[in-house]
């Protein structure tokens, strides 16, 4: 089955739950296992949270979430137009965080990498960040 859904949402922490709900929604007809579903929900939760905390630094903004399902492959793209990441490689290191005072674990990108089959991060300082993730479901 092929399907595409695009959602624009406010960068509010309440919408982390909504992002997970939306990705679970598009997967209804992909028949993922419970574990695969949790993997994708976790990765989406991490990406949306990053946009809220780091991209917009808890200020107002919009997050664009695009989901494309192509049979047993899901591509999720999460974009913000916030501060951007100066050093993406550094940001992706496990346990690295710019906000330890906010009790951030620094595991966000590590989880996206661990739970998805492919992760690409595009970012430009002052322009925003786009995260593209792929997951292939076992048939």
């Amino acid at each position: 089955m092929k399907n595409y859904i695009s959602i624009e949402m406010d960068a509010k922490s309440e919408n982390e739950f909504f992002g997970r709900l939306a990705v679970a929604g598009i997967l209804t007809y992909a028949d993922p296992t419970m574990e695969e579903l949790t993997d994708v929900k976790t990765a989406v939760s991490e990406a949306v949270t990053n946009s809220i905390i780091h991209g917009y630094e808890n200020k107002e903004g919009k997050i664009l979430m695009k989901m494309a399902l192509n049979d047993n492959e899901l591509e999720v793209e999460i974009t913000d137009y916030g501060t951007g990441i100066e050093d993406v490689k550094k940001a992706m290191e496990p346990m690295y965080t710019t906000k330890p005072d906010m009790e951030r674990s620094g595991m966000g990108f590590s989880f996206m990498e661990a739970f998805m089959d492919e992760l690409k991060v595009y970012s430009k300082k002052g322009e925003g960040t786009r995260v593209v993730m792929k997951k292939i479901f076992q048939e």
Binding site: E14, F17, R20, K41, T42, E103, R104, M107, F111, A114
Partner: protein, 113 residues
Amino acid sequence: MKEAEFLVIGKTLVITLLQELDHHIATYIKEESDNIMNKRNIKNVIINFEHISFMDSSGIGVIIGRYKRIMYLNGKLIAVNMQPTVKRIFKMSGLHKIMYCCDTMKDAMSTVQ
């Protein structure tokens, strides 16, 4: 819908999570538990995962935050009633090595005695 329930038993604070532990809920848990710990003589914290089956890296952050505070007080931090999805996050992050993990509330309560 309520985010969590907080119950003080002696010197132990029991936090029963009622919603998926993400950044939104983590912020609330941090504020509420700090608030209670500032006012009451708390030494131990038990986090009850019975009602939730999801947690992400923000959950790890809030748990490590409580861990640091509890260590300073020489108390115990215990996770109880974890479902497989939550257990997996604990194992991946190494949380299960730094804190007590119990299967039942009875075991958790006897650990803090």
